[in-house]
């Protein structure tokens, strides 16, 4: 079943074209997702490579009426999490290293400083980064994200909400008390102690 173009004529030209020809165009977005998920470009590139290989050899499982990006993102995140289970200790170590550098106070200039944001984002669990990027940045609906993540829509929403809350904590922001409330010893402790328990 090597699908040579033309063996399965289709009235819709969109559907008859080989979806493998669309892989190249999807790679930048796939890679951006991988970088957001791993926060490590070389690791992201390995994931993208593995995803392309899997997508190529399983292209017959792709329904051309559905979203190719979503299909690829799903392969990539599943690959990522199965790899993560094998190297969990390594990941926790690198989280610890990140956390050690994060004891500064945020800039109180009325906006979230992007650098502070990035550092907080780096400290989130991959599950939290994933849900925030999928629904907050890459334009997928909660329903699409739910399908990609293999969970219920409600889980996507509550996970996204927890992830935002966690981000705010990591940036020393107390949601209830206002955007730029001062930091104190307690929030510092949360920041320093929280990374390991992040989930």
């Amino acid at each position: 079943m090597t699908a040579t173009a033309g063996t399965r004529p289709d009235p819709l030209s969109d559907l008859s074209e080989d979806p493998r020809d669309r892989l190249a165009g999807a790679i930048p977005r796939l890679r951006a997702f991988a970088i957001s998920l791993t926060r490590d470009v070389s690791r992201a590139d390995d994931l993208v490579q593995e995803t392309i290989l899997k997508a190529w050899s399983n292209i017959d499982k792709f329904d051309p009426r559905t979203n190719l990006d979503a299909w690829l993102f799903t392969i990539l995140r599943n690959t990522f999490y199965s790899g993560l289970r094998k190297t969990r200790r390594e990941v926790q170590d690198s989280d610890g290293t990140f956390a050690a550098g994060l004891s500064e106070k945020p800039a109180h200039d009325g906006r979230l400083a992007f650098k502070d944001f990035q550092r907080a984002f780096d400290q989130l669990s991959p599950e939290h980064r994933e849900v925030l990027i999928l629904v907050g940045a890459s334009g997928f609906s909660c329903e699409e994200a739910a399908e990609m993540m293999g969970v219920a829509v409600g889980t996507v929403k509550s996970r996204a909400s927890r992830a935002r809350k966690r981000l705010a904590e990591l940036m020393h922001l107390e949601e209830g008390e206002g955007l730029f409330s001062g930091t104190d010893g307690a929030t510092q402790a949360v920041v320093l102690g929280g990374a390991a328990a992040a989930r």
Binding site: T4, R20, A24, A32, S36, Q49, R111, G136, S158, L179
Partner: protein, 58 residues
């Protein structure tokens, strides 16, 4: 624990908007990273292999 009453919490909404703005920036920064050649090469390799192995399968 999760008292999600975002409608009546404008500050919280503002925070959320800023978070989303920054998330989009994280993603678009990642999109701007220059693509390495390895992916183009990989696709070319796969395409070439597929062409010669047509009908073969595994």
């Amino acid at each position: 624990m999760s008292s999600d009453r975002e409608e009546d919490m404008p500050r919280r909404q503002a925070l959320r908007a800023q978070i989303d703005e920054n998330l989009k920036r994280v993603y678009s920064d990642a999109l701007k990273e220059e693509l390495p050649d390895r992916f183009r090469d990989l696709l070319a390799q796969l395409k070439a292999k597929d062409g010669t192995a047509a009908g073969g399968g595994s």
